[in-house]
């Protein structure tokens, strides 16, 4: 078992995205910096640039996600791409929906647990008969729980 990160260790910027099988984004969640840095977003412009870069990197990684998905039966594809110091982790559901996590630290165990949690939450959304499979996920409870899970696994 990998040791957990020391309490108070900075995990850094992370963005999570759900992309449908047809490459349509359904959900996005920017965690920003955790812990002590949570309140300290850089003023306006810089944060936007960072957000744009994250989106770009994650979309670019989709090709690699597809490649890795061919190679394995597992849903968790772990690390699929790297851009400078940004790491992209991916998870593919049975229906072909992709979960992408952009992170700047290597922590496969926590990422795996996080993906597992989100997968459960995602299934509940999917089971709602009024949810269209390709529609954006706007449910506030889902968003809150995803953020909770992120806080739990990336303390």
């Amino acid at each position: 078992r990998r040791p957990r990160l020391a309490h108070g260790a900075m995990v850094g910027l992370a963005t999570f995205m759900i992309v449908s099988k047809e490459d349509v984004p359904q959900y996005e969640c920017d965690f920003g910096a955790s812990g002590a840095q949570a309140a300290g977003y850089a003023p306006g412009g810089k944060k936007d640039d960072a957000a744009h870069l994250h989106q770009f990197v994650m979309h670019a990684a989709l090709d690699f996600v597809d490649e890795r998905a061919w190679e394995t039966n597992a849903m968790n594809l772990k690390l699929v791409d790297r851009f400078n110091d940004l790491l992209v982790y991916a998870f593919v559901t049975a229906g072909g929906t992709r979960f992408l996590l952009l992170h700047d630290q290597r922590n496969e165990e926590n990422v795996r647990n996080f993906f597992h949690d989100v997968h459960e939450l995602y299934l509940k959304i999917l089971l709602n008969p009024f949810h269209s499979p390709r529609a954006p996920i706007v449910d506030e409870t889902f968003d809150a729980r995803v953020r909770e899970s992120a806080k739990r696994h990336f303390p």
């Binding site: 509940k124 089971l127 709602n128 008969p129 009024f130 949810h131 449910d139």
Partner: protein, 201 residues
């Protein structure tokens, strides 16, 4: 008079026994199928909620007419002597037998012609369901989606088949109203239907 399956009148026990004896189907399959059904009805009615509610009620009614035959064959229940007994049979034995739904009858009026059926939950129908705002907004209760109306229709259809005409609808619906108030169905006796039915005393 036919003998009852269980000594005396104990609808809860009869319900439990009937449920145990019934063939089962996967609960999630039922829930997902019902969800698809409601979705399709709404689609066919082009999102006109009032029409969709009516359609769901009609479907329930048709099902109830058939289910009551199955029910009577399987439970060997004796003829009900009052509306109260009929209501208990439908709610405590029928709903339990077919859906494993637990409920209680409360709020009887003095005449014993009207009561509320309170459900702990309606999971076979409502598990994982979130009704979108467009189907539950508006002040008029009639313009809100009656997701579980098939159940009301079934109760109505079943009772009608044995000569009892009722009104049946949800007065508290957690899916479109206050979730903490749960699900409460109102059953109201209207009249006995005079037709002859081939059920022996």
């Amino acid at each position: 008079a036919r003998s009852t399956r269980v000594g005396g009148r104990n609808p809860e026990l009869a319900g439990q026994a009937a449920w145990v004896a019934t063939e089962k189907v996967n609960a999630e399959l039922f829930t997902l199928t019902y969800g698809a059904l409601v979705r399709q009805v709404l689609h066919d009615c082009e999102d006109r909620v009032v029409e969709a509610n009516k359609k769901l009620d009609e479907m329930g009614h048709a099902m109830g007419c058939r289910l009551v035959e199955d029910f009577l064959a399987k439970t060997n229940a004796r003829k009900c002597l009052s509306f109260k007994e009929s209501a208990e049979t439908v709610a405590l034995v029928g709903f339990k037998m077919f859906l494993n739904l637990e409920c209680s009858l409360e709020n009887w009026n003095d005449d014993e012609t009207q009561c509320d059926v309170r459900f702990e939950h309606l999971d076979p129908f409502t598990a994982f369901v979130e009704v979108p705002d467009r189907y539950k907004s508006g002040d008029d209760e009639q313009s809100k989606l009656k997701y579980c109306q098939v159940l009301c229709g079934a109760a109505r259809g079943a009772l009608e088949s044995v000569g009892v005409r009722v009104e049946c609808h949800f007065v508290k619906d957690a899916l479109v109203g206050d979730p903490s108030e749960g699900f409460v169905m109102r059953l109201e006796f209207m009249e006995n239907v005079e037709d002859e039915y081939p059920f022996e005393d």
